[in-house]
């Protein structure tokens, strides 16, 4: 991930990122990396500090709330369901607008708008 940051900063400064397909592919496949980094960092920090919530001051069993297991399960399931629904909507919109490209803004400046109407007919209906 750090390597990607360095390479991408370099390419952006040189303004030649679009000529390096390997860098663009690398960036695409690196999408899950920050998420993995955040999760593993969380496990290391929280797991490694047990049995304390605040090292040698507040033990975990005293810092937890008195919520029931059912309450916690209920909220986790509700959050997971809600975010899954949002993910589906988000994916649908992302794919739709990625296909349309910046021409979906209707500014008349971008790729599809400069071509014959036939080319845009391949895409979905413009919003």
């Amino acid at each position: 991930m750090l390597l990607l940051f360095i390479l991408a900063t370099w390419a952006v400064a040189k303004r030649n990122a679009e000529n390096k397909p390997w860098l663009l592919k690398y960036a695409l496949f690196a999408l899950p990396l920050p998420w993995i980094a955040a999760q593993t960092g969380w496990y290391v920090a929280e797991g490694g500090r047990q049995p304390w919530s605040i090292g040698e001051i507040l033990p975990t069993h005293l810092s937890t709330s008195s919520l029931s297991t059912g309450d916690v399960w209920g909220s986790i399931i509700a959050l997971a369901a809600f975010y899954t629904a949002l993910l589906i909507i988000e994916m649908y919109l992302m794919i739709k607008f990625a296909r349309l490209g910046p021409s979906s803004l209707h500014t008349g400046k971008y790729h599809f708008e400069k071509q014959e109407p036939k080319a845009t007919a391949n895409g979905e209906a413009l919003s």
Partner: protein
């Protein structure tokens, strides 16, 4: 360093200021979105309503986050008891608030009417539900929250979500919902025109009338309803670091929660301000005077929140099952050092937030018309 007692008072005032700042700014976001499907008949009108707040709503939400953060840092006990006690009420607010950012961003992406209508109702829920629940939560403070503290100061909450929905608290919920709807309506009067502005004026007037009636009902209920108020049985040393369990609290129905108003008559300014604000809003909206209506609804909000704060002082979370466990601004507070550090941080950052917020309103002020929406339909929210 400033004395501990003074710092405790400063933070009681500052949390109040943050709550009022939240209600004044995010209040019109929530209110205008709760009204949006009713006052906006056409797609352009609804979009105009959304675009009056779309560039500002997350900035306004900073007040909410800061109030939550200040609660966590200044009154950690209140934070933990309230948030794990009223867990499902809080989650309800959270889920309703989730609908706002996605609603603003997704709504106008597709031209499908069904899609847009669904998000409009989502935005309406995202405005109305938090406004209602905050009022219900405040109402329950007057009744006392069913919690007790054990010897390690962990709280045990024995109520349920549905116990929060009692008649008194629900009327308080209507007070806060109608208050924020009136404020949102006055905001739409300021920032929109034509039919949308007229309907917003009508909504502001109706909501301000509902607020005035319910606010007076709550006052009468507290005064004549023999509702027990809480007070210290033995005086405490406000300058000391206090254990919340080391106090004796008595409840009495006369004068109940009105005690502070008879002891310090100057506090009566708060309810007078709320009533005056409502009357101004009712008359100004009938004459379609946007600026005056907004002033009226703002006074209403400041007055109503101060009314509740003054009545409860120094209590923050009264306990209904074990009054000695009640949390006050003298004993549920962070350490002297924490409050000192936070005061320095607040002196630097609160003015900064005020400056950039005012600047962004200044830059994005103006009436949003249907024509503006139609000619920029691909770049606006």
């Amino acid at each position: 360093m400033i004395e501990y007692e003074l710092l405790k008072i400063i933070w009681w005032v500052l949390v109040g200021v943050l709550l009022i700042g939240f209600a004044l700014t995010d209040g019109f976001d929530m209110g205008s979105m709760a009204l949006m499907p009713f006052v906006g008949k056409t797609d352009s009108e609804r979009r105009a309503a959304i675009n009056t707040i779309a560039p500002h709503w997350d900035g306004n939400q900073v007040w909410f986050i800061t109030a939550g953060g200040a609660l966590f840092a200044a009154w950690p006990m209140v934070y933990s008891v309230a948030f794990s006690g009223m867990y499902w009420a809080l989650l309800l607010v959270l889920f309703a608030l989730f609908l706002r950012p996605v609603g603003f961003d997704y709504r106008s992406k597709l031209e499908n009417t069904k899609w847009r209508n669904s998000w409009d109702w989502g935005l309406c829920i995202g405005g109305a539900v938090p406004a209602l629940v905050f009022g219900v939560a405040f109402g329950n403070l007057f009744l006392g929250i069913p919690f007790s503290l054990d010897s390690t100061l962990r709280s045990e909450y024995t109520g349920s979500f549905f116990a929060l929905l009692n008649p008194f608290a629900l009327v308080c919920g209507v007070v806060s919902l109608s208050m924020l709807c009136a404020h949102g309506g006055a905001w739409l009067m300021l920032r929109t025109d034509e039919a949308l502005k007229q309907r917003s004026a009508k909504a502001t007037q109706i909501m301000a009338i509902i607020f005035l009636i319910c606010f007076l009902v709550i006052g009468a209920w507290l005064y004549f309803g023999q509702m027990p108020g809480y007070s210290y049985a033995v005086a405490i040393d406000p300058n000391a670091a206090l254990n919340p369990l080391a106090k004796e609290v008595v409840t009495n129905s006369n004068p109940g929660w009105m005690n502070n108003y008879s002891t310090y008559p100057v506090t009566k300014v708060a309810p007078v301000l709320a009533i005056l604000g409502a009357i101004i809003a009712i008359f100004a909206s009938s004459k379609a005077k946007a600026g005056l209506s907004f002033t009226g609804t703002s006074l209403m909000i400041v007055g109503a929140i101060l009314t509740a704060g003054f009545a409860l002082f120094p209590f923050l979370l009264p306990s209904s099952i074990n009054p000695n466990s009640s949390l006050t601004m003298w004993d549920a507070v962070s350490s002297h050092l924490t409050l000192g550090v936070m005061t320095v941080a607040a002196c630097i950052f609160v003015p900064l937030i005020l400056i950039y917020t005012s600047w962004s309103y200044y830059k994005m002020w103006g009436v949003i018309t249907n024509k503006h929406i139609e000619s920029n339909s691909h770049s606006l929210y």
